[in-house]
Symmetry: D2
Subunit: 368 residues, 4 copies
């Protein structure tokens, strides 16, 4: 067995937005991963993990199929990715972060130092299609694991290995990136906290990973869009904004400033706040397009409530018209039902399957 | 066996819009039907059929299940609905028109004169839920029968027995009515013919059935909306308007007036014509609401192309806001794929199943 | 339109065992059919129907897809098979008997006199695979139509258009024949009547069709096996024999002779009667093989109870060993459950689908 | 956090055959597990693992759902089963051995020393139904993980978490035990090695676990059947015996004695060897019944080839008759097809789903 420090390796591929040329390499997002092609009978990965309260989870993929899903505990450690295999065969191995960047845990991080192997690393081929998924807890796969009776917010019940992002990526053999945060929205989080808005973080490497540790890892720096231009961007946002309309006002504990998306007394949305929301959608589309010149942008909505269907569709339409940007589309996803729900009252695997099927149909039209 | 003239019977139910108190009773629409509960061992129906070139088809339902589908040939005739049955049991029998009102065949009509039975007719219970479907060839079930290689426009390949309307009605045990015409749109037909617009016929009994014969049957008269108020109206329109954008100008052979929904040179919709289309959608919603005070209105779109998603969603949204009419919703239906297509390049049974599932989820929210 | 008497036509194909060179041609069995390839815009069939109490039903297939299912009433009549079609195209049309030969109705018969057409008849191609199905009510499709609450024994609820025979034939594009009778078994019917045994009729054209009328049609004559040698024979028998074990003794009303398959007091099968049953299975296999030299023989069992699994499997095994006939196999079919049951407590379409899938897997091994 | 040595705990349940009152407790079999109900926010398990070449894998189940699957590496270690949970809730946790007893690795073992918890252990309820599964690689779940192109025999691709045993146990909420060994048969292994016969090991605790270490753990001792009497025993054996007929003779490297199940030149089974095989089946049934007085015994066969269907069915039938033991049944399972195959040319998850459905139907009849 021989140790290979990642910084000295030439044949590997990092998936997901990360800090360029930084070692050990941070895996910031759900779906962030390191991929290798290697022969030999045995392979270990050398990682470093820390967190205050919310641990990251990982999955291991062998020749394209998930073979392991595991909780990562604190510390630097070696994890065996395979052993006892036919040494001659070249294996494709992906070690993938299963859980989202944890905005509520400033210490949470996962770093890849290197590999220990008794084989030789071979080049990793480029995939033909690149997809970026931007979303909230749905895209973070909250509720895709665990009993449907679970109510505890815990990373055990979260992960992308069974959610629509992986289903779609497998269908097209696509490279994909996720950028998602549970509870966040376009203009505000589920609790009306306006700082929980995805657009504000979109242009950083990983603005969800906070604190000095993550800052040192480069999370807050501007993202280099030029280095990775997706063919398709799926934005699956709006569910938390919709929830916020029914939640109480958010008040900043320090500044006492407040925010609220309002309902009228008759149960309809306040037109001013719908207008604010629509503007946020449009503004976000301009931000996305500015950074992704060629991508087809699909705004998908509907897996957890469909109250903002009109507002989102209308906003995307306005953007499309104003910007004369025809590579934009709105897709309504099937709402989650009693038959398709998972844990934490979130979409289960069946709901993700239904959504993936709708999006696969849509992508097929776009990318052929 | 005893003959019962329909006009003298008290225990039966006519489904579908028809001329009040007219005998023999016309079944104008797909889904129009006569329903009886009857005991005895044998039952025949006495009908009258005529057409110039396009014959109507019918289906027979025994205790809620379809047992027969048949072409109707010209003339007055008796058709056996059942025989050899246990005389004591009360059977629920529906004789249903399978094919749409035929706007292109002025002679086409189907009349019910009466029944021949050796049992007694019992009352037909009211169903709790009433649904009206308004649509085009999709709602007429074009393509739900026949080999996928068929290209002949023929009523054999058309019918509602396997389409989404019947699937939804069965799910909710609902009474339903259809009002649909192949090739027609909101503002114009697939060929840009502006007279092929559904809204213009919505307030008549059956404006699609033309000619002196159908006029005599009362088809062109104003419809009495008060007599039947649906709980839900599903409008599944827009596919032909979308097609018209890509078709040549329509020119009236007599007046030489013309009509065209235009595309821009770059392949986008001309904004003026989108605006005209959106106005037509809004106007239609006002017409529907004027006549149906309590109904939840679902505009469903997407089974055959999705190019007008934004325009329709936006128009429904504008109507909802302008009219302050919250009982309106837009639903995107899954587009038809190679796996779900039927004959005549139209949605097959699988595509209708997918659409029905989406609408069933939607209706469940609305009607509980 | 021109009338074509069948006896003068050269281009057509009769499916199902029938009397050679007899006109009008009898369609004795479920699945018996006349098939033509014809162009022109319109086609009628000229048939003759009679029965005492149990009418036959038919289905119409257009280019391989069922488009109509209808009850046949008494008398000679013309039925329109299609009209209004593109005259140039050659259409493949099958007019098929949907319901079994009716052993309990000596008058029941269905004859084909000819066609009326405005096109030209073209040759009907031979299919590569030939399958014979031998069975009871399951193979007659009893219970595949109608509400699951139905209990009336009526041909309306019976038919092969949705049963496993047609599913299998479609999968392999095979020519198929059925020879089945509701209530009959290998050694006795469900009621212990030993004359209700299929093997006794196997070597006649259609021994189930009794009475002078059917005799005159040639039903009782020896069948000419050489004229049609199947590649596969599926025997789906044993369910009624199993039922007979639990039914009272049968007593001949005239001769007073009696028959009974006995259970022991402890609820097990009486070994002597199991031995008699097994012998009947073996004897039948010898009869089948004598007449079908090359066919693979699949004995399938289990859709309605599985009590005779051991006896049948053992008997087929004994036959295989004794006869050194390796082209024999036993297949257990999934029993019908609450989820898959149809009307009359018989297998519904879902149960037939499950059975068909098992048999399709089996046939694929046999015929490649 | 407090450490609890297993030997001092009263509230836990060991699943699977194991040595009574031995600590640390060995988990010998696939499906062997330790189950606890515990509150508190965090739980770790203290285990000890060793092997020469083939490592064991484990799965973690939280409130009945699998949340983790992981390779176990050598040494004593603590594995976190959950953390960060609501302390008040009582969680049901199962730590399960995923891979079979490894007859080819004398060092391979997995021991449970205890738990580290910050909560209190509560009693584990008895389940109403107990099922024992006896089998080969199918029951060991070989091929249920990994890409279908995999050919490497490696525990990564093996496991019961996706196989029919767990599917059935979940359906009935049953306690279950597995006793299975890849490559073994009733009379001989796939390679004709007659020592690879399951019956010879059935009455020991875990005769597959060899070597001095496992001997010290009690693996070779007689099993105490009285302590756990199953309601149903599913024997899924015969596939390797069938394979042996097509493999060369096995020769003992030491004694030079040989064994071979022979085919005739014409490709049929040699009757003497079929007789030997049938006797082995019958003998095994007597062994099973001797030790399990009340269990319903289901012999299931067919997922990997069906050549011995007759022999097995006949043998079970003979046993049933000879022993007058009516609580025996033969079930044919659907053979694995191209659509349902997994890795290593073994049944994939879909094939296991189909087999489980057939067995679930069967068990439902037996256990209601």
């Amino acid at each position: 067995m021989k140790y290979h420090e990642l910084r000295e390796m030439s044949e590997y591929k990092l998936h997901g937005r990360t800090s360029p040329n930084r070692y050990p390499a941070p895996l910031f997002f759900n779906g962030s991963a390191v991929e290798v092609n290697v022969n030999g009978s045995e392979l270990w990965i050398d990682i470093e993990v820390d967190f205050a309260g919310i641990e990251p989870w990982a999955t291991i993929w062998f020749n394209g199929e998930m073979v392991s899903r595991l909780m990562l505990t604190k510390g630097r450690k070696k994890i065996c990715l395979f052993r006892g295999m036919n040494p001659a065969a070249i294996k494709n191995i992906v070690f993938m972060r299963e859980t989202q960047a944890m905005a509520d845990d400033e210490l949470c991080h996962l770093l890849v130092h290197g590999f220990e192997a008794n084989g030789i690393f071979h080049s990793v081929a480029e995939r033909k299609l690149k997809i970026e998924f931007v979303g909230d807890s749905i895209t973070s796969g909250e509720g895709t694991y665990g009993n449907i009776t679970e109510t505890d917010w815990n990373p055990m019940f979260m992960g992308i290995s069974l959610n629509y992002t992986v289903m779609i990526a497998k269908e097209f053999d696509a490279e994909f990136r996720c950028l998602s945060q549970s509870g966040w929205g376009v203009i505000a989080g589920w609790d009306n906290n306006p700082r929980r808005n995805i657009p504000a973080k979109y242009e950083t490497v990983c603005g969800f990973a906070k604190g000095s540790v993550n800052e040192a890892l480069g999370a807050a720096k501007p993202h280099d869009f030029a280095a990775w231009q997706p063919d398709v961007i799926v934005v699956n946002l709006g569910s938390n904004d919709n929830g916020a309309f029914e939640q109480p006002e958010w008040i900043d504990p320090v500044t006492k400033e407040s925010f609220k998306l309002r309902m009228n007394n008759n149960g309809t949305y306040h037109p001013d706040d719908i207008a604010r929301f629509e503007k946020a959608v449009i503004d976000f589309l301009y931000i996305i397009r500015k950074n992704n010149k060629k991508a087809y942008i699909i705004w998908a909505y509907g897996m957890v409530g469909q109250g903002l269907t009109f507002a989102i569709s209308n906003a995307v339409y306005k953007y499309q018209t104003d910007a004369n940007d025809m590579k934009t589309v709105f897709v309504q996803l099937p709402d989650t039902t009693n038959e398709t729900v998972g844990s934490l009252l979130h979409p289960g695997e069946k709901s993700h399957r239904r959504a993936a099927d709708v999006l696969i149909d849509c992508l097929r039209k776009v990318v052929g």
